[in-house]
Symmetry: C2
Subunit: 361 residues, 2 copies
């Protein structure tokens, strides 16, 4: 019997078929910055190692200062310390935010943890479907919000890569603010999107808004586990903090954030790379006969609709050539016609496009 | 106005008065192995850094194998993978174990997180006091267990350093096993105690027993955040796992455990050091006029009862000389007559004893 390849319901399980069997696989299933760990952090690894011999600062003062400086520099935003919630990865931040609600509207397809966490905490769940172009259906969201306490959505959204259009979203923000509803905007991928895509500038005016960020994707450090949330609703933040365990952020996460946020060169080269790579990769994909549709994306992955082949078949063909892709069949609202590809550096994207060109349907 | 020095209610806050002001302090308040990070892990830091660019294995297979080998080697114990719960530090493991109960008997004085976590989760709390020699009052524990679902206690206990006496504890184990009660034994410090002090050998016979371990103390890595729990009650383990977030252990914690557990030289030299240092340090302390009582200890810290001086006064005098100690007034059942000292390497213990010799009451 063939071993199940993707044991987890997420992308990024390169262990089962790959590493644990000594095989090198190229991972197009998880969406991590191909530049890897920022040099500014790598150079400070001995400082982090030294720090591992102490408990972290209970208040994480240096880390919070670094977050404040980062958003001051890149978003021209002043964030108070009390507006920040620190997490062991964005997972913990999402877990706390979702557990603070009794009912939730989830826009789908989206990161499957939203639904899993909502179920875990026993929330009543409603869904709003993306439209046929994989954009938000703002009218539908507003309608359905009447029956739920909160809304969660990605900006950009995973797996579709679409952004929130502020002009259209404003009516939802205003409605939530005046009706004491909550909005969780997951911006784990926002640094890959064009400048000023973040909703961060709105948090001071909208207490309903909670923004989730992480170093995981843009700073290439999913193993380190550091994410955070920002809201001007300090009571909401305080209540979530009360549920946390002490020292929940490890010293490597702390140091990775402190030094990566200062790495201007890394940030700039990553932005240049993704703006160049999106059109190159999408153009290549759009020439392939077994692809029905390549959805526009604002970030470092792209959703694909297949024809004459399903996701399992393409997965198997790619795996034979050493590439792991993400089948999208377990995203609510999608089926096995859909797959998601990460966008990597030019060399790998070229190799991957060449593999795909030779795929027989 | 003087700034509050200990902002956290734990030991180990050397940030407020120390590091954040550029001042070097010697930390006798937190109980970490003075040998620091094991070489076997330090040598593999680039492997861990490399791993930080991937999500950890969703199933943590290598890590669980390392835990199993470690206990096979040092405790002659076969542990199944399903018996292990992995945590972001022992904090998460304790949090999950405590949250699985409705009522709890806490032996005090003990690690203050037991009570804080129990309050956070709304448990009914009973207390059993250590006897006048800071040993467990087994009869009292058994009596009070009739009204609670579970029991938590340290082995060795913090801040008192006493161990569970298996012969006397057996009646409690049997009672809990036959009455479907739960025992959480916190063994965060057990590797500092004499060989065979652990209750681990009992887990296969007692489904009521859950043992909490961590690399934090013995392997000198509090900043890394890795702890775990072991029980043969697989249903209990499964239910706790369901509450966890994915990838809760970071890759540095994973690598630190994998390689530290293999570091036989580190383990052996640490054991030799603590067996030599306990009598040396305690003898020195017992000669001091302002100390009423030095309690026997089996681990790397010691509880002290003062006379002619209180904990705040001694804390201030030590801080002036660059040493941070742990006032014990906020341990339930103790007052400001009590302080706790870590036990460090010979050079620091000598310096510290010399400082103490010159303390004026």
């Amino acid at each position: 019997m063939k071993e199940e390849v993707i044991l987890s319901s997420h992308g990024g399980d390169i262990y089962t078929e790959g590493m644990l069997k000594g095989r090198e696989l190229i991972d197009y299933s998880s969406n991590i910055n191909p530049f890897g760990i920022p040099d500014c952090f790598k150079e400070k690894i001995s400082e982090a190692l030294e720090a591992s011999m102490r408990y972290p600062d209970y208040k994480y003062r240096r880390l919070k200062d670094a977050i404040r400086e980062y958003h001051n520099c890149y978003d021209r935003m002043n964030i108070d310390e009390e507006m920040i919630l620190l997490g062991n990865g964005a997972s913990e931040v999402l877990d706390l935010a979702i557990s603070s609600l009794k009912s939730i509207l989830i826009v789908v397809p989206s990161f499957i943890e939203y639904e899993e966490l909502s179920s875990k905490w026993g929330l009543n769940i409603e869904f709003s479907q993306l439209d046929e172009n994989m954009n938000y259906d703002y009218k539908n969201i507003l309608d359905k919000l009447r029956d739920t306490e909160g809304l969660i959505l990605g900006n950009p959204n995973n797996p579709s890569g679409n952004l929130i259009d502020y002009e259209k979203f404003k009516v939802i923000l205003d409605y939530c603010e005046s009706h004491n509803k909550r909005i969780i905007a997951d911006e784990a991928f926002v640094e890959f999107a064009p400048k000023d895509s973040s909703l961060l500038a709105l948090v001071n005016n909208y207490k309903c808004l909670f923004i989730v960020r992480a170093i995981t994707k843009f700073f290439g450090t999913p193993g380190i586990r550091f994410g955070y949330g920002i809201s001007s609703n300090e009571e909401w933040i305080r209540n979530m903090k009360k549920k946390q365990n002490p020292w929940n952020v490890n010293c490597f996460g702390e140091h990775a954030a402190i030094y990566s946020f200062k790495d201007k060169h890394y940030i700039e080269k990553s932005r240049v790379w993704i703006r160049e790579e999106i059109p190159y990769f999408l153009d290549g994909l759009r020439k392939l006969s077994f692809i029905d549709r390549v959805y526009d994306t604002n970030t470092n992955f792209v959703l694909i609709k297949l024809k004459d082949m399903n996701g399992q078949q393409l997965y198997d063909k790619c795996l034979k050539k050493g590439f792991v892709i993400r089948r999208a069949h377990n995203f609510r609202g999608l089926d096995d016609c859909f797959v998601r590809f990460a966008i990597k550096n030019r060399i790998n994207n070229e190799r991957f496009l060449n593999i795909l060109k030779n795929v027989k349907t």
